[in-house]
Symmetry: C2
Subunit: 344 residues, 2 copies
Amino acid sequence: MKFEAITIKDIAKALNLSVSTVSKALRGSHEISEETKKNVLAYAREYNYKPNPIAQSLKRGLSKSIGVIVCNIDNNFFSQVINGIESIARQKDYNVIITQSQESYEREVANSEHLSSRSVDGLIISLSAETKNVDHLVKLHEKGLPMVFFDRITDEIATHKVIANNFKGAYEATRHLLEQGFLHIAHITSSGSLSITLERLEGYKKALADAGLKPDPRYIKFCQHGGMLPEETRQALTELLQLKVRPDAIFTASDRLSTTTLSLLRKMQIDVPGQIGLVGFTNSISADIFHPSLTSVVQPALEMGQLVTELLIQLIESKRPVTQFQKKILETELKIRDSSLRMP
Amino acid sequence: MKFEAITIKDIAKALNLSVSTVSKALRGSHEISEETKKNVLAYAREYNYKPNPIAQSLKRGLSKSIGVIVCNIDNNFFSQVINGIESIARQKDYNVIITQSQESYEREVANSEHLSSRSVDGLIISLSAETKNVDHLVKLHEKGLPMVFFDRITDEIATHKVIANNFKGAYEATRHLLEQGFLHIAHITSSGSLSITLERLEGYKKALADAGLKPDPRYIKFCQHGGMLPEETRQALTELLQLKVRPDAIFTASDRLSTTTLSLLRKMQIDVPGQIGLVGFTNSISADIFHPSLTSVVQPALEMGQLVTELLIQLIESKRPVTQFQKKILETELKIRDSSLRMP
DNA sequence: TTTATTTACGAAAACGTTTGCGATCAGATC
DNA sequence: GATCTGATCGCAAACGTTTTCGTAAATAAA
């Protein structure tokens, strides 16, 4: 199965020109007479000539493609981010190659190596929950592969980063629960090695502190796989419910965690928000038809994807080494719905 | 920003061999002595040699990448399919380039041309809702670009196709509503030009007919953009609710349509299933925490993605032209939940 | 007329591979 | 001793493009 396309050679032969002349004519070089240019362009258009991007890549040493590593695409937050990435990439004529780490460190390492050997021009990464060591990325970065981080970032690599204001988002979510009169607010979150986990945890603690409450470590549950495995969340929730002073509200720190927790509470016949209030980080487009509708901290996922892609392409296309890096922090939005309302 | 990697040339120079010898040694050719092979392999391993895939692509005329065109990635059904695509592609060492048509015919055309000029080795497609004419794909297919379809397919191109048993899925959904005692069952579906629309419509009609009911065209609403625009769904729903004999149940034909309809019914304060029963095609992982939990026809999305990718790669790698094509039909599953239960 | 300058084009190398073929040399066969 | 065979390797072309450099003709300046 071959897919034959017209090449510069064909044009050259047809018009009795040399390959180099045709190439220059196509790029509008001043070295070529207007008439020749016209002829070449006309012929190219007629036969629908498209330059072979692979040959161009080989020549230029750039592939016009960028790699993406996220934990999972089947997740409203990440699929929205990818939407944003794709829109900018397309606009700037880059291809996007998406890979999933499934929260596994090993797969993240394999993906990053595979992508770099696939000669992508740059990498967009959100770390996996399992990842505690970023040497694999440091190595690639030192070799000169441009990369940018979003959402789950690391301090160990100096480059552009885009995150949501996780601290503030978590703070507002927790404060909202406090304002509703909840007192024993638990927190179910992802792996402690993730930046978002720490930031959200700090926001949660600060809100409690500001209300004169002392965070209780027993109320804070980490899920090493970020909610990929429902069993993990069940475990965390079960432990919370067995505490002597059972929490009267839960703040969940990620998309999967939020929906799974709500699902489990329903299966356990626990009334939300009657017996337990709930606020979660989630970008689910269906949060308002959940039972109960889910109060959520929504991240500007689309913008994050767009912004991070713009920064990466900027890095790729910059002539001189970039030394000034940005850390963009986008604001979240607290959408108050039924799951957190003490008195509806 | 350059990203220098070791090449065959470097190895050749270091070991005092020719480029061709090194190349052959790396591929384990019988022309090369065991000792030389050992040396080359050792050196390659030590310096972490990875063949430049772009150069290989140029040489072989194959890029080891496949293009995907779906309407939208931010949708549980499609993201699950892509999950399946990715798993097989990775396993067979293909890259996946994902594009979104956003249900627009123009973007579908642009994407298909962009991908083919990007020299992907093959295409996986689910047609956009707007697409009525597939000439752009016929042209590429005739030029020899392997392609396979899933979900929204066309008869005009002879190739492998993978779909769910839409007829049966729709039939069972409708029959279930009938069994629950609903009599006036409306159907909100996508564009009439989509294969899935027709198949599901037929299943719906057949179930009604088998129950001795005559399908009423006023009860059938088409959404040209497949639910991408909520306004379209609102319009359809509003019209249904204004009928003299208001439907007492609705069967929605796609992911977005289902969640949007449920959302709108809630906003309109219409009790589901009390006033209106609801069954929808959806792969939402949260259908059981909807209010009410949503009875749904679930498609084996992951398997669809895996299967369609296997078929494509089979096509790409086949030495001789393939003339026998498969149309795989995977079974759906009806998950009965609250939204369709007359008497809970 | 001679010499410089411009214009318009072609030859060839390069990017990193793969591959057919020819070269060399050893040993085997007659 | 001449020929053959097999093993091992290098040369060179090829994939399609870009780009540097050279060169011929045409024009301008001397």
